[in-house]
Amino acid sequence: MVINSVLHIFERAGLSVIFFLRSVGCIFSGRVRWKDVFKEIYEQGVETAIIVAMTSFATGAVLGLQGYVMLTQFGAREYVAHLVALSLVRELSPVFTSFIFSGKAGARMAAELGSMNVNDQILATRTLGVDPVEFLVVPRMIACFLVLPGLVVLSELFGIFGGYTIGVFDAGVPGASYIQQTLTAIRFVDFFSGFIKTLFFAVFIAWVCCFEGFYTKGGSLGVGRFTTRAVALSYIIVVISNTVLTKIILTFWG
């Protein structure tokens, strides 16, 4: 029983690596359907952007509130802009946006591919002489890779705006000073480290969600099971890879 489970995990892992290499192979051999990529960018990006903007604004505002209370105790309330900007750019925006993205766009990708698989549409693609990975997976993967970094930047902007609202209207920090402090606080390396992590998260989310969807079994029940598994796995991989990547980035760039 245990041996079978372990073998199954290795089998899935091997299959997922082959699946990823097939997808990357399509991309590097130029077999990319850009029209479908743009359609996916729109579908993945627009719907998620609204949620990301709203939650990021609220997160920035909460950070501002908590930071203001804490920093006031040390007589450093003017540093609230630093706290908000650095927290968002280095950690919160990349990780939270990835969570939201995998819960929305990732789940959508897994469910779409899963339902296509259980309804024989992926098989039909093969019978029509078309590579289903090229037609159905690659556009979703590329769109994911392009959309998530954009959403993270959007999250940072709205988060900072949320912090600004509290800092200026509640804490009484002058608006120009808040903006000046924010710009001073964020060094290129801070933005860069968050951005690099986002690119990795995008690859992991696209890979996991497309793989789980593509190999969904078990009818409509299976679609639900594999989709939730895709999202759960994405969360776990984002959290673990965030720790590893943060350590690497801090080691090399401080």
Binding site: D120, Q121, L123, A124, G129
Partner: protein
């Protein structure tokens, strides 16, 4: 055109196809009959390389497709139309987009010409009024018609149909069967159809084979089968007509 030699396939130690030999001539309509689970669909899927046999060979136009890699199989499949049991139309495309898809993928004709051809074909299968509808807005029979149009839009000389009448009422089953016959006549296609619908099978088939436990039990023209005294065939016929 199609030749199957000693085909063996097992799933989880259960032998689904057991040394099956079969030949389908050019332009022939062959119906594979059998009970549910008798291996009809598995046999059909071997004919387009969707299954890899444990033993045996499948020749399409004298090319053994069982040894071809997926990249080469994709090219072979462009010459074969495949009608899935539930149509397997893309649910994010309209009917006309579904039918146009193979044309736009594999030919160099303009989009305008492709859609002109698609509209002619949709008229033939009686779906002109539903061309902009999504598959989810169609009835079962309409979905099968659209899927049949997609299967033959490239003018494939081989068309494989998996249970084309399943889930349809007797009138719709008859209509789909007649349509398949008409398509075969018009495109001069070789058709291999799996079915357990004896009545329509006898109406459209040039030749029939009856599968039992993964083996061909009996083979012949509709007349041969009607005159056969085979006990399993008799039982199968009796169950169908009762």
């Amino acid at each position: 055109m199609i030749r199957v030699e000693g085909l063996v396939k097992s799933f989880a130690k259960q032998r689904v196809l057991d040394e099956v030999d079969l030949q389908v001539k050019d332009g022939e309509i062959l119906v594979i009959l059998g009970e549910s689970g008798s291996g009809k669909s598995v046999l059909l899927r071997h004919l387009i390389g969707l299954e890899v046999p444990d033993q045996g060979k499948v020749f399409i136009k004298d090319v053994d497709i069982t040894v071809l890699p997926e990249s080469k199989l994709l090219k072979v499949r462009r010459d074969i139309g495949y009608l899935f049991q539930d149509g397997a139309l893309y649910d994010f495309m309209s009917v006309e987009e579904n039918v146009a898809f193979p044309l736009l993928e594999h030919t160099k004709i303009s989009e305008k010409e492709a859609y002109q051809k698609v509209h002619e074909l949709l008229e033939m299968v009686g779906l002109s009024s539903a061309k902009t509808k999504l598959p989810s807005e169609l009835s079962g029979g309409m979905r099968k018609r659209a899927a049949l149009a997609r299967a033959v839009v490239l003018g494939s000389k081989i068309v494989l149909c998996d249970e084309p009448t399943s889930g349809l009422d007797p009138i719709k089953s008859r209509e789909i069967s007649d349509l398949i016959k008409e398509v075969s006549r018009r495109f001069k296609s070789t058709m291999v159809i799996t079915s357990h619908d004896m009545m329509n099978a006898f109406r459209i088939a040039d030749r029939l084979v009856l599968l039992k436990n993964g083996k061909i039990r009996i083979e012949g023209s509709p007349r041969d089968l009607k005159e056969s005294k085979d006990s399993f065939l008799q039982e199968f016929l009796t169950d169908q007509y009762s």
